[in-house]
Symmetry: C2
């Protein structure tokens, strides 16, 4: 969209900012801006406020770096959770995804990403040191590595495993295998290979 | 996404508001919220501010109802435009699209939609009366109807044509036909029929 074609500076400015959102181009941004123009002023105020408050007021849990409304997140402060297990994830998003499965009752540790020298992300940029300290402080019996099955995820898992080797903590990693519902004929050979290697006893 | 799985009320609130944007579901809204969380606070402030200012400070041109930064929009206040032609469009978006073609040098009149009783949009909800007054005030020689080729667009065009019939203004409508670059075999028969009926002299 040609810059000169905007009939209003305010519109152009809003479109420019909306277009910075991931997956939103200038055309979609214009659509969003025109939508917001049609809403009640009160509604747009609430919208802007909610975004601003999120950025300004949100806290990060002192223990696990998950986002929280206070000093400690809901999960870490829940006495019903198994305090001896810590699941290491990349971002808050994975915490939410794993929570939705309802299959895990331990705690988390949010790294804030994975090691990726190509993107300039080094171990020091992630919450790895705090994980090591947390494990060293005692009380943690198992660290579950739940990282992406990518080169970066594997590198990060390896780095953490080395760091934790002397602590004697039990290290596990989530299973790789055929997705539930997938047909075997469409599985890639790496996944299929892993799923055969890591076969488990069949339960009747 | 289950509501209970949000680790922060602020996050949930921002996601709820972002998910009200057209074409944004709760999953995308979460992605946008987490993206905003990673930005500089200053950046998020500018974002929220730009959206709020757009809604609160924007003006609508007194003449054509296009959006403007002042009382009269850039197009209406441009002495180089042909003041005797008025192109009737549904929204600001169409003004911008037509401006981008560079093929029109007259003025506009933004209706704010099309007549659609099913959606509760009646002639009185649109800027039709102001168009009739504008034409009645004199100086306008041609009204170009540039509305969608839909039933609602056609209904609106017909309604406006009836309203303007006594003013003696010349009424035209944009051509319907095969899109530039389209293969004839894929054209629908209505469009193909119109394009044959409205054939024009071939220019060497």
């Amino acid at each position: 969209m040609n810059q000169q074609s905007y009939p209003s500076y305010l519109l152009e400015n809003a479109v420019t900012h909306l277009a910075k959102l991931p997956g939103v181009g200038r055309k979609s941004a214009l659509r969003l801006a025109l939508h917001l123009l049609r809403q009640d002023e009160r509604e747009v105020q609430d919208f802007a406020q909610s975004v601003l408050l999120l950025r300004q007021e949100v806290h990060y849990c002192r223990v696990c770096r998950n986002i929280a409304d206070g000093d400690i997140c809901q999960i870490c402060s829940d006495p019903g959770r198994d305090q001896s297990r810590v699941c290491v994830v990349e971002t808050i998003k994975e915490v939410m995804l794993i929570e939705q499965t309802g299959q895990y009752k331990g705690l988390y540790h949010v790294l804030g990403g994975v090691i990726s020298p190509m993107d300039g992300i080094h171990p020091g940029d992630l919450e790895i040191e705090s994980l090591v300290e947390r494990v060293a402080a005692g009380g943690v019996q198992e660290v579950v590595l739940a990282l992406s099955a990518t080169m970066e995820g594997d590198t990060t898992a390896y780095y953490i495993a080395k760091k934790l080797a002397q602590t004697g903590v039990s290290l596990t990693t989530i299973a790789r295998g055929i997705s539930v519902g997938d047909e075997l004929q469409y599985a890639d050979e790496l996944t299929l290979g892993k799923s055969i290697l890591n076969r488990i006893p069949y339960q009747l």
